[in-house]
Symmetry: C2
Subunit: 382 residues, 2 copies
């Protein structure tokens, strides 16, 4: 039995955020809490949303202090504002961080208690207030996921939640909001989407539906990511990357992911590094490790994406080619950095590997690694 | 701006219908109205659902008189039962007919008035009572669509509705319910799914996301439909056809369809013929007509599905091949019957063509046909 879960209404296209007001009015809502980060406030993106609400006669308050890898403090601060302002709906605005924070606020607003009460699967009793999540990167797919991660700053751990009551009612993917994204973020978030799709395609939770979605996402990333970095203002390319990340999200939110995520979460929690970049850096190394059980799947992907190059090649050679092409893409878009260059200390590998094996995503990896395996993968990426 | 709409929760797999009870309890619901047809009642499928509800302490009433191409009378009878029994949720059980009827009952139960008040797009004010739609064929995708069609028996017309408030909360696709489907229905509903995907792939409402979904659906139909007819008890093949129809549904419910549907609806309304079969019969002839503007898209599909056969072929030759392969599949599964053999009179073609041009789906066809064009297509399929 499999449950394929996804928000009801997913809006795409230039200026689709204008639809926020009509949906709020349709639901007789009065006052939004906008949850976003300082940067999106400074470049005026949250101001755009505020204007849309204002023009429709809707009220709002804005919490703009979400950090990358959102913290428990972020959640409690935003929750206090939600209550103080008597808001009745939530607008998340950002990549994964703001939207993850919005989901946590929604669950606490509806259910009370502490974040720790809801760690795990479907732990809340009541559905969050109506949530609209606006996606400003083409990567995390946080906006279509019922999962969210909050960093415990003190314990240097990620609290991981997966809760149907945290699924937003609607999502907005406006390519105009992505025109100004720095190339580094476009690259890291695009590689994040690729990681979602590649992990979904081989994970233990895969099935025909999620594999078709994942494959479509992988094709779109290979067809568009290099180009969108070369032509950042091209709305068509931005839109194609949005569809890539949405398809990847539809896949991995319903199949699970695997070892890349289990390891990347620890780098995020301990070093506060961007999630997409951590995924991108680790992806080729984990593929090399998983290759022992995923040769057929990697070869399938290679034959689909690189039919010409695969002609007369064996399954094993095609699998190798797929890993090489992922590595080449990561090189081309600038995410193939070394862990050492990101400031990660070799002396932490033991601890990072232990935490990776305790991460909930590890069980979806197609093969269960040992502690030594994980340490070896960290070392190979050093 | 595009809105991609889909039910929140979509359940797949053998015995997934067991989940009906837990979702009803989660939502504190008390009494279902099951809407289905005589055949599903006689072979015990509605009894299975009743047992699941009974075992969970839930009440139910059953309306089992839905006709193929459900009528206005069906809707009003079921609505009267819903009110009389004080039901608080609706379970549709069937292919398109029962599920379309369920949606109409839901809209009238929440909004009052007459069916005619809601013809068109988003005409209702209130969301239907919680609806769970159980799909018993792999074809119509009615269970994931907000659209529904009701036949006006007197005027011999189809009333067409598309309403966000008619979107079910959750869907169930249980391959065990499909094991006993006669080959004729498996074939017609499978070709229905193919028609959805093929019309979606080329229609004016297409975009990258819907095209990826449509292509995946087309692949799954070609990979599984012949086999499932040869091995009707194979759960894996049944499941693959379910994913095919779901992907096709995700595509066409958000892009629209085209001329095949515009013409098939009239055959359904005037001759009460099964929708899937009408689509299957007309599909190759409409493809031949649309080919003048869809050569590139048909060739793309052929190259994806029949790479070997397309080697060294021109775009035009690949497009021809795609139409030939659709015709061959329809022949192989037994849906390539002649309109004349279905009892359709040549003298009705003028009227059928006029009605086709008035059908709401015609505007999504990649080229607007003339009355003579439509008559000529009917004649070619005679």
């Amino acid at each position: 039995m499999r449950e394929f879960v996804i928000p009801h209404r997913n809006n795409f296209g230039a200026n689709c955020i204008a639809g926020i007001a009509s949906i709020a009015l349709e639901h007789h809502l009065k006052k939004a809490l906008i949850i976003t980060d300082r940067n999106l406030q400074e470049i005026g993106v949250s101001g755009k949303i505020e204007q849309i609400l204002y023009d429709a006669g809707l009220q709002f308050a804005t919490y703009a202090s979400v950090r990358p890898n959102p913290t428990k403090s972020n959640v409690y601060e935003a929750l206090a504002l939600y209550k103080k302002e008597h808001s009745d709906f939530i607008i998340g605005l950002g990549g994964g961080s703001a939207n993850d924070c919005a989901k946590a606020v929604g669950i606490l607003a509806a259910n009370g208690g502490q974040l720790e009460d809801y760690v795990g699967l479907n732990k809340s009793r009541k559905v969050a207030p109506l949530m609209m999540l606006v996606n400003t990167t083409a990567g995390t797919a946080s906006e279509i996921s019922r999962a969210y991660l909050i960093s415990d700053e003190v314990k240097q751990e990620k609290l991981i939640f997966k809760d149907l009551h945290a699924l937003p009612y609607c999502t907005f993917n406006d390519p105009e909001l992505m025109i100004g994204l720095p190339a580094k973020i476009t690259a890291a978030t695009g590689m994040d989407a690729l990681t979602h799709a590649l992990e979904s395609y081989v994970c233990t939770g895969k099935y025909a539906l999620t594999q078709k979605l994942a494959m479509a996402a992988i094709e779109l990333v290979f067809d568009n990511l290099r180009d969108v970095i070369a032509h950042p203002s091209d709305l068509k390319l931005r839109e194609n990357m949005i569809y890539a990340q949405s398809l990847a999200g539809m896949a991995f939110c319903n199949s699970g992911v695997g070892l890349v995520h289990a390891m990347a979460h620890q780098l995020g929690a301990v070093y506060n590094l961007p999630h997409g970049l951590c995924n991108a850096v680790l992806l080729p190394y984990v593929m090399r490790y998983n290759r022992q059980v995923c040769e057929v799947e990697y070869a399938q992907l290679a034959r689909r994406l690189f039919a010409e190059k695969c002609k007369d090649k064996s399954t094993s050679e095609c699998a190798d080619l797929m890993i090489q092409e992922v590595t080449r893409l990561s090189n081309d878009v600038g995410t193939a950095v070394r862990l050492g260059d990101l400031g990660i200390k070799e002396s932490d590998y033991q601890l990072l590997a232990e935490k990776s094996l305790a991460d909930g995503n590890i069980h979806k990896n197609p093969i269960m690694p040992s502690l030594d395996d994980v340490i070896a993968i960290f070392k190979s990426a050093y």
